[in-house]
Amino acid sequence: MNVLFAVENNAGLDSRLDNRFGRAGYFLIVDTDSETILSTEENKYKNEGHGVGIKTATYVISSGCKVAVGAQPGPKAAAILEQGNVKLIVNETGTVKEVLQRIKDKI
């Protein structure tokens, strides 16, 4: 299954989850079965003044991922993700590799 991770740095499976969703450093799409990274995208919206959550949430939906892992998005982004039936996992910290082990049976 393809899962999107909102992370702060670009270090593959060792990237750490960002403590912000809309302004996360990078978005990784990970295939949870093979534990490989399918794509790494720098968050080009993170330094914008307004509506960053809206832009990133729209991006998440376009990515096709049905599960997103990261910090709690703001209300506007959460409303968009809900429209797209994206499941959010927001209470995790640590690296993608660590989080993958913990959430594998949840998704």
């Binding site: 307004h50 509506g51 809206i54 949430a57 939906i61 376009s62 968009i80």
Partner: protein, 280 residues
């Protein structure tokens, strides 16, 4: 003549001063541009003749016609629109919309996006004797009163009239909007460290705007304070000191204007007004 009454710190006496000025002058307009919490009506007790809905255009998207090309969302500088092609969904976040019209301008699909009027506040117009009363009142939950303030100044004020404009407290955009077209700015402050600090911030704005300015010290305890020193330093005169008085406060809390609660104040305000008129 447009005389704005402003202050950095809240609760220093803008409404006390502006309503007293209006009552002293008689033939004038009192304009309440403290749109987030207008309260001049409590003291003037005007008869309201009309109430006007103040609206701004916001986009409305017909999802049955929209092709989800995302041009509107890309044009929006405030990211107020979310277009989600895979879901065939268009979402507007009205709090972020600044009513600039860019989305409607770029939309290539006829009938997909139209602008509709959304009420952001009300303008109340009335009269108290010879005083014309104009008030802006922002609807609860609206993020910015600036369009309403600008709308009143542009469309509802006669610049040939004698206008007393009650601005909102602080030093942010609504205050700047209220001061822009003024001929004279009266800054109301109080002799406290906060009063002085916020007076300094407001003086920076009036200097930037290049406005003729005077200071009124309210709740004056007698003797000199830091405001006297600052006034001399920046060459902005203190026009009047209103004494600290429990009687004034008691009357004010019952909505009784200063003219009735402080004997002899009418002469002082009239002298102050003559001094301001000379500056025009």
């Amino acid at each position: 003549m447009y005389i704005a009454v402003a202050s950095g710190k809240g609760g220093t006496g803008k409404t006390l001063v502006s309503t007293t000025l209006a009552l002293c002058a008689g033939d004038c307009s009192y304009v309440d541009l403290d749109v987030e919490e207008p309260n001049g009506f409590i003291f003037l007790q005007p008869e309201i003749e009309k109430e006007i809905r103040f609206t701004l255009p916001i986009p409305e998207i017909d999802e049955a016609v929209c092709t989800f090309c995302e041009k509107c969302a890309a044009a929006c500088a405030y990211n107020a629109l979310a277009i989600i092609p895979p879901l065939k969904k268009a979402m507007l976040f009205p709090d972020l919309c600044h009513s600039c019209g860019a989305c409607a301008y770029v939309c290539p699909t006829p009938g997909a996006l139209k602008e509709v009027d959304k009420e952001i506040g009300r303008i109340r117009i009335g009269r108290k004797g010879k005083i014309k009363f104009i008030e802006g009142r922002l609807n609860v939950g609206r993020p910015s009163g600036v369009p309403l303030i600008g709308g009143i100044i542009n469309d509802y004020l006669n610049m040939d009239d004698l206008l007393f404009v009650d601005a909102s407290p602080g030093t942010s955009c609504p205050v700047v909007e209220s001061l822009k077209k003024s001929d004279y700015v009266i800054l109301v402050t109080e002799p406290t460290p906060f009063g002085l600090n916020d007076l300094k911030l407001t003086v920076e704005i009036v200097k930037e705007l290049g406005k003729k300015t005077g200071i009124i010290v309210n709740k004056d305890m007698g003797g000199r304070s830091g405001i006297d020193d600052f006034s001399e330093e920046v060459h902005i005169p203190i026009l009047l000191k209103i004494p600290y008085s429990l009687d004034i406060q008691k009357a004010y809390s019952r909505g009784i204007p200063l003219l009735e609660s402080l004997p002899g104040i009418k002469e002082k305000f009239t002298a102050l007004l003559n001094r301001v008129f000379e500056k025009k």
